[in-house]
């Protein structure tokens, strides 16, 4: 066969009487030109193939023939349910032996009628209904998870919940000390930013010293705890979701169940307890570091350090300082819950783990901001 010169591929449907002949010509190659199709494709399989002028071919040719045969088979047997009701094998006469072999192989197993056409892309109303069902399922899974958590906490305080102390220690290590560098950096910078912004505004009133008050109150009430929570959402919430998600994909969670361990007690409880324990400590730390960052800027702006320090101490009341720490407990619960919930509901594949991680971070950050707003409203009403 001449390889260097190719002729354009073509197919022609010829009808004489009730019989259909498919004439194939040229070189059918995926890197060649698109085939030219002559005549209306008939509603029946060709009786015979004429391949006298057919040149070289690759998979494009059998793919073209198979597509036609499948379409014809789909029309001629409406509503076929089982595999046994398949039509007679279509004639492959006239094709070269290797083409016949390939087509026989492709036709050997009939198209799975259930797997092929799923009514996925149907009407808009159906899609809307699917979204509604999904949202409802998501909400009820959150409710279920919350109920589970409360029960597990109850078991824990009754001394009946089982998890390994070492797991608990590992989680504490991961979400506490190992998070310190990033918390330090972010809090310090946030403190500096607050001081810069405050300094520019307050300098015009000659009230530069109040930078200390601004930084201190903003840090301990809001910025310290919110920034820590967002860091922990991205760091620890994501880690929880990825860890539990891959445990699920690897059947490790099933293995826990069949040994009679409650995955909830065993995996969720230590994470939840660890985070609610660690978050307040991290928040206090972040507050101190943030105030130090503000102090650096204040000193650069000409406030004597002792003066700045005294002003800070007079600004921060115990009430103010405890508000942020109080909120951090709830943020910790929210972050641990979103991480574990998404991890335990992850699809059993690597893509599923990725999706679960994304959802965990998004829902954790959303929860943190929503809870914070609720507290802001509450504290305003209570006039704290």
């Amino acid at each position: 066969m001449p390889v260097n010169q190719t002729s354009p591929p073509s197919a022609r449907w010829k009808r004489d009487g009730g019989r259909v002949v498919l004439e194939l010509a040229g070189d059918w190659r995926h890197d060649g030109p698109a085939p030219e199709i002559d005549g209306e494709p008939p509603d029946q399989a060709p009786e015979r193939y004429a391949t006298e002028t057919l040149g070289d071919f690759d998979s494009t040719l059998p793919a073209f023939i198979l597509a036609h045969l499948r379409r014809v088979a789909g029309q001629s047997s409406p509503g076929d349910g089982g595999a046994d009701s398949r039509a007679a094998t279509p004639s492959l006469a006239g094709l070269s032996p290797n083409l016949q072999g390939l087509l026989e192989l492709a036709l050997a197993v009939p198209e799975e009628s259930d797997a092929g056409r799923q009514p996925e892309h149907s009407s808009e109303i159906r899609k809307l209904g699917k979204v509604a069902i999904r949202v409802w399922a998501g909400l009820s899974s959150i409710a279920e998870f919350t109920g589970h958590s409360v029960l597990a906490l109850g078991r824990f305080f009754a001394g009946k919940a089982r998890f390994r102390a070492r797991d608990f220690a590992t989680v504490i290590q991961e979400c506490g000390p190992e998070a310190l560098p990033i918390v330090t950096l972010i809090s310090f910078l946030i403190g500096m930013i607050l001081a810069f912004v405050g300094n520019v505004q307050l300098a015009s009133f000659g009230a530069t010293i109040y930078v200390a008050d601004l930084v201190a109150i903003a840090m301990v009430r809001e910025m310290g705890v919110v920034m820590t929570a967002i860091i922990m959402s991205g760091r620890t919430g994501a880690a929880f979701a990825a860890h539990l998600g891959s445990m699920r994909a690897n059947e490790e969670i099933d293995a826990l169940k069949t040994f009679g361990f409650d995955p909830f007690d065993f995996l969720v409880l230590p994470r939840m307890l660890a985070l609610t324990l660690v978050m307040p400590l991290l928040t206090i730390y972040a507050n101190v570091v943030g105030i130090a960052g503000g102090m650096l800027v204040g000193v650069m702006a000409g406030i004597p350090p002792v003066l700045y320090w005294n002003e800070t101490l007079s600004a921060v009341s115990l009430t103010n300082a405890s508000l942020g720490v109080f909120k951090s407990v709830f943020f910790g619960i929210a972050i641990a819950m979103s991480g574990c919930l998404q991890g335990l509901h992850a699809a059993k594949s690597s893509a599923g783990v990725g999706e679960a991680t994304t959802r965990a971070v998004v829902s954790a950050i959303t929860a943190v901001v929503v809870i914070d707003s609720a507290f802001a409203a509450l504290f305003t009403v209570l006039d704290i």
């Binding site: 089982g82 595999a83 046994d84 094998t89 026989e104 036709l107 050997a108 089982r162 390994r164 797991d167 590992t170 891959s246 445990m247 690897n250 059947e251 490790e252 099933d254 293995a255 826990l256 169940k257 069949t258 040994f259 009679g260 361990f261």
Partner: protein
């Protein structure tokens, strides 16, 4: 409820398995006697592993019931179910060892939880079970540090941790080299003979089916129900269901060597 004179170790009655509205298998009825090596076989994706997950209580049946020694497993409340489950030893397809624990810790976890053994005794038991599957010396390895076949064997060792009387093995031989696969078959026979365990295996490795199984269930993808129940060697010779014979002969029908089932 249904009554039988001498209750079988495991009895499945009219079991229908479904994912939502998609029925995987319907009307499964079979019994597994004590000390059986029972193989669940069938083509890929026919629901073998799904059936196993029903048997060990990880999925609820859409219909029907599963009885262990005459007691209905599907109707138990979670507390009673725990007692059932503790008699099971399950090996999952990939081994499913807990990846944050070493092999020794994987085996020790259930022992520490359910027995009052001293740490010394636990350690001895763990290294005994690991040596049964040919993994002694690997106590302090993490599952990610050993090969897939070793993970499977470690998974079997873990399933033996609590000396269960029923083993469920999900594709134990898949992906093993012929020698390891053979050794695994020997191990399974030995478990049955020396511990008197009942063993349920999901597999489609013909060689190992004929070597070890004395009873089997064939799940038929085309009809979505059980194709046959019985000794696999007898099924190969005498089954009235052509799909079963075809499966057990690797697609070669009597007096015919072509692999094309077109005609």
């Amino acid at each position: 409820m249904s009554q039988s004179q001498a209750p079988a170790k495991i009895a499945v009655r009219n079991l229908t398995m479904a994912y939502g509205s998609f029925v995987v298998m319907r009307d499964l009825n079979f019994e597994i006697a004590e000390k059986d090596i029972f193989v669940i076989m069938g083509g890929s994706g026919c629901g073998k592993s799904t059936l196993l997950r029903h048997l060990i209580g990880l999925r609820e049946p859409a219909q029907g019931s599963i009885l262990y020694e005459g007691e209905d497993f599907t109707a138990t409340d979670p507390g009673e179910r725990g007692a059932f489950i503790r008699r099971f030893g399950v090996m999952y397809q990939s081994g499913a060892l807990w990846s944050s624990l070493t092999l020794a810790e994987n085996l020790a976890l259930p022992l520490e939880e359910y027995t009052g053994l001293s740490p010394q005794a636990v350690r001895e038991l763990v290294s005994y079970k690991l040596s049964l599957v040919g993994l002694s010396g690997y106590e302090d390895y993490y599952p990610s540090q050993i090969s897939g076949g070793m993970n499977k064997r470690a998974g079997i060792a873990r399933s033996m941790a609590l000396d269960p009387d029923i083993f469920f093995l999900d594709e134990p031989g898949a992906g093993l080299d012929p020698l390891s696969s053979r050794r695994l078959d020997d191990l399974i026979l030995r478990l049955r003979d020396s511990l008197g365990s009942t063993i349920v295996i999901v597999t489609h490795e013909l060689a190992s089916i004929f070597a070890i199984a004395n009873n089997s269930l064939f799940l038929d993808t085309a009809t979505r129900t059980q194709g046959a129940v019985g000794n696999p060697i007898e099924l190969r010779e005498h089954s009235t269901n052509p799909a079963v014979r075809l499966f057990l002969r690797r697609g070669e029908e009597e007096n015919e060597t072509t692999s094309c089932p077109a005609r």
